[in-house]
């Protein structure tokens, strides 16, 4: 098995910038993703209507946000609430809507999963990574998903095998591939290091 291989299907995340051409904008942010949203408004205030969904953790940005997004701001208390709110507003959206997502990788792909059900494809979504480089991994053996893996090798939440985290990403699953590290020599583990802080 090609442990040494650096597989290049990892998505690339960019800094958010406004689409010049649009009929409406939808920004979806979580935690530090909201700073990215605020930075967007420092670029310029678009002429088209803007909707901003924000799941907050500790810091309260609602006041600041209220100033820049007077209409269309929806502050939620959790990612779950945000996804529910997103599902409620999407049926009213029309072609010409541009979508921006900012947050952790896990958040970005949870949002993408919902958007897909409304006909918005991955390629149509602008994404910026914030907060953490932690990865969601899919155990190729037992199919369980484990969140927030920050190390090169992580324990599967399903079968408890130690999984090597490949740089191979499935947009369909929103996860990296995890593959048993010690199948050929049980118990022999390389050093576990934090590489996705």
């Amino acid at each position: 098995m090609e442990h040494g291989y650096w597989i290049k299907s990892k998505p690339v995340y960019n800094a958010l910038v406004w689409h010049e051409k649009a009929t409406a904008h939808l920004i979806i942010a979580k935690n530090q993703g909201v700073l990215v949203a605020l930075k967007l408004f420092q670029q310029r205030q678009p002429t088209q209507p803007v909707t901003l969904l924000y799941a907050q953790d500790g810091t309260d940005y609602a006041k600041t946000l209220n100033k820049v997004v007077p209409a269309g701001l929806d502050v939620l208390n959790s990612e779950q609430d945000l996804l529910v709110s997103l599902k409620n507003i999407m049926p009213n959206m029309r072609m010409g809507l541009r979508v921006y997502v900012a947050g952790s990788e896990g958040f970005i792909w949870s949002v993408a999963e919902v958007l897909k059900t409304f006909g918005v494809e991955d390629a149509d979504i602008m994404k910026e990574l914030t907060d953490t480089l932690a990865r969601t991994i899919y155990c190729v053996h037992c199919k369980a998903i484990t969140h927030n893996i920050t190390t090169n090798i992580g324990k599967c939440s399903g079968c408890e095998r130690m999984l090597f985290v490949r740089d191979h990403f499935s947009r369909h699953l929103g996860a990296y591939m995890g593959l048993m590290i010690d199948a050929e020599s049980p118990g022999e583990l390389p050093e576990i290091e934090e590489i996705y802080p």
């Binding site: 098995m1 090609e2 040494g4 291989y5 597989i7 290049k8 299907s9 390629a123 899919y138 190729v140 053996h141 199919k143 095998r161 740089d167 191979h168 990403f169 499935s170 947009r171 369909h172 699953l173 591939m177 593959l179 048993m180 199948a183 050929e184 020599s185 049980p186």
Partner: protein
Amino acid sequence: MALNFKKETFREDYTYSNSDAAIKRFPFPFPEDQYMYSVNIEPHTKGKQGTVCEFTFDIDEHYVAECLDKKITLEQDPGRYKALPHMMDAQWDFVELTMEALAQDYPEHFSLKKQGLIWTWENKPLGIKDTFTFGDTSTLATEPFDYIGRQLQGDFVLLDHRDETLYADAGIVTSQADWSLAFNVGMSWREWHGPVPRATELGVMDRALKYLLNLQIGSPVRRLNWTMTVNPRLDTSPENYPHWGGERNTVNAENIGDLIHLRVELQTLFRLPRSNAIVFSIRCYLISLKDIATYPRWAKRLHRVQKTMHPDLIEYKGMTKFHPMMVDWLAKFDDGETLAIGTQPE
């Protein structure tokens, strides 16, 4: 000519073996003493009688046993079959392509009778006979691609053609060389070719994509690919890596000739007419080093190819543990004689 189907296994006791005739027709993939990764695509035209390219889809003495092995794999892990909803037209295209080809090429084993859209399919080796309405999924017990995919040797992926690329949007994959359908389904060409070493940087995959986007109805193409597998195991999936990975530790200088198998994939690609999708067919052939060595020409060639293999490819193909031992084992067959270009056994 009717085939004699063997009773054999591809797991646990591994009773798989090749008859003399099967060895002779093995699709040996090395025409030259050095191996270089390339696209090497050629038209999938009718080959000589008896060769693996004689017919559209090759059925051989392992047919019944392979279909049984596929059944076991699918029962243990239904995730080896997956088709996204927009691929239904491609599924029926696949049914038409495969049933027509098999019935025409192997009339003593398969038959297809059509009365308008009412089709009767008979598969004698597997004892299957069903009547269904072409295009009406409710008339088959499973999805059409699943239905016929189980009755063929090898793996199949249906590629949707959109946005100037190809998406792996359906598959039935049970004899793969270390890739996961459940993980890869829905990926674009570039995403699922991420793992190929040295290839992406050479632009090989981009060129191959450009070629395939223009693949035409009625003009299928083929290429050979290869790797090495310990034991004649079809299911070398990442899913079951915990079960087969350890087998690499059992190879030693005494048993290497029996354990190590050259695994050749005959990959064929067909444009499907109604869906504009592409079928990617991956048919796996296995042969032990010992059986290869029954033809000195092949043993010499394989020795030279392996001796000069790039280290990246040795790792990519999972051969690191036994590669030096394999080169040593093959060396005794190589007298240094100059070999003409070509893959023929003699």
